[in-house]
Amino acid sequence: MNAPDPMSKYRVVGTRPVRPDGIDKVTGKAIYGPDFVAAGMIHGAILRSPHAHARIRSIDTSRAEALPGVKAVVTSADFPGQSAKIIAAGETSSSLRDIAATCLAHGKVLYVGHAAAAVAATTKAIAEAAAKLIVVDYEVLPHVIEVEDALAEGAPILHEHMITKGLDPAPDSPSNAANCLVMTRGDADAAMAGAAVIVSGHYRTVPVHQGYIEPHACVASWNADGQGQLWVSSQGHFDIRNQTASVLHIPSSDLRTYPLEIGGGFGGKTGIYLEPVAMLLSKKAGRPVRLAMSREDVFCGSGPAPGIVVDLTIGADADGTLKAIKAEFWYQVGAFCGSAVNSGMATLLGTYRIANAHLCGWDVVSNFPGTKAYRAPGAPQMAFALESCLDDLARKLDMDPLDLRLRNAVRPGDPGPHHVPHGAIGFVECLEAAKAHPHWTAPLGANQARGVAGAFWMNYGGPSTVSVALSGDGSVQVTTGSPDIGGSRASMAIMAAEVLQVPYERVRVAIADTASIGYSMVTGGSRVTFATGKAVVEAARKVEETLVTRAASLFGVAATDVEWRNGAAHCLTGESAGEHLTIGAIAAKAGQFSGPVSAEVSVNPLDYLPGFAVHICDTEVDPETGNVSIIRYTTVQDVGTAIHPDYVEGQMQGGAVQGIGWALNEAYVFDGNGRMENPGFLDYRMPVASDLPMIDTVMIEVPNPAHPYGVKGVGEAPIVPPLAAVANAVSRATGLPMRTLPLSPDRIWATIQAAK
């Protein structure tokens, strides 16, 4: 595993050392969100709405307050008033009003599971009993779930102030359409009229959950002097702090926030749910308070990812060259307005060369939890439509589906989704590698078929702060504000070790609380190895510079006559020529220089590059039951440079399997009252080990020239192709279009029966 590749130009980059936090995590010592205990801590419980849509007439908390052991009760009346001001929330922005209403309903509950009130008591059992004693007087309102119903004439309106953005003239009455965006390129109608072949389809996916195994949890402590502390499991404790402080109207620096280990997030742990409520409970009780979700709370009160309805038409020449694309689509974004439309547009415009497009996208709110980012948010749903439609085109043209994609794939310099040209991207390399892979030509058995899909995700950069500090013994401390969700401590240590040319084990990485390092944005958007990594490299280089300068004075030569090599300063000229000083020897002399050797660097890079992926999937369909087995799966991805290949492959495999679950099984199922019928892992069926084959990975390394080691984000692209790769395989196996997900056995069976 750990042998360096002798052909590599790097010493540590590209090796696979054991992660520094590994032992804690295989022995049960690591402290995650629900594990943390503060001295004197008491327990909170939340009362959640049983109705999908209702006005809160009044809340009577007196019986709960009277229960022995109860220390505090909180309702939205305890929240400061909120404006519609937009603040940064994770990687997007949301209005303060929506953020606050997500934590505790204001005036109306908007979904089953919406938090309505909260209690803190000396034990969890008492808190839960007390929550049940709170009487909420609801005026139940009609509700909507599907976008068609939400947009229908006379539909119940979720937000009385919601006027559709993007329509000219602006409508004069509210609706459930939060946002409409139209994008055009060239002349889609004319190009479509001149196309030799036209394919089209109506596609639909339903909401799915991120499905992290660790439920949300936090501990809050708020003192009478206004200073508070928060311990959170999140993708970004700085953003959790900022959002919490904003809705509570307190200065961020009054709220010191500590990161705990995080048990998965995938985008779903970038925002706040429990934190301000726990803070208010703590303030009233004068004690630290833990609030934690159950699995049912997680399904009904957090996430999910939006569903989509897409009408898509693609026109092409007889040789398969794409001419035009027309689409209208509706994201089903849950109770609060989301921002999936832009990424849907990008998916349609950024993957293939298409000169003519007319696209119209809508965000539609309805009565289920406000959706959150889920790994390449908005893209998998749209790629399902696009890549399924392309497969129809390939069949119509009798063309190899990979050849069709190769003919149209975007190349470096082509306009990107937003006109900004694509840089050093490796989509063509991925498609060629997929074609050359033995999987592509392997024989298939009865009822088996092969599907393929390509896709990309834009990735991100953004702000990060890092410090690199040397101890007197020359060991290296890297400190960042980016939570480690999948091995990033290891990649940060690798990059610092690469710069300083010291062994990986000499570098230790800590994730510091908000008072101990400057701001870093969330761990999300595939940004940490890229952006935080850039800061690590820059800080390590500054440290190297200091070491070289100091060594030069110790040698009595100019800094240019000192070379940094193998973790030591080598003197090139003068009396000391040929001598060297190790990192430790120089660091130990800090007392004779201006101070200890350290550097802190803040960055905000936006020269990230997108990641492209191509997935090949073999399925076997049982025509008797409609059951689909995944029998072989290969992922090919342009990863830039793999800093720690195990964790890059892990992202590719994990994303692929989440996408397989999305394609085959996962779905929010609502009853007639808008209640989720399957809020547990038994009925919300995520893939288990026995559902799957090995997931083969092919890493294509087309480095990003803007990163010192060529890093591109790798975490999101792998969830984009699988929905279509699976659906295309099932379509080919059955000879029938598969345009609605999930492809559960009953749906496939019914489709087969209907075709008979």
Partner: protein
């Protein structure tokens, strides 16, 4: 600039000839045409200068030909 900005702030107009020393000044100039644009842009816009995303709005624009204002997109 591309949608949603032209529709939302500039009555559908998406192209402007403007001179500005840096992106702050440019955004201010646009805000004078489409009021509210600047406040939104701080949170929701990404800006490319001659095809390269620019994070630092204070950097001089001298010699730049084309500035593209596009929506910022979230990740997971």
């Amino acid at each position: 600039m591309i949608e949603p900005f032209p529709g939302r702030y500039f009555a559908g107009r998406g192209e402007f000839e403007l001179e500005a020393p840096n992106l702050f000044a440019l955004v201010r100039a646009l805000d004078a045409i489409g009021s509210g644009f600047a406040e939104m842009a701080g949170e929701d816009a990404a800006i490319a200068v001659d095809g390269v995303m620019r994070a630092d709005w204070s950097a001089p624009l001298e010699g730049a030909q084309e500035v593209l204002i596009v929506p910022r997109i979230a990740g997971g």
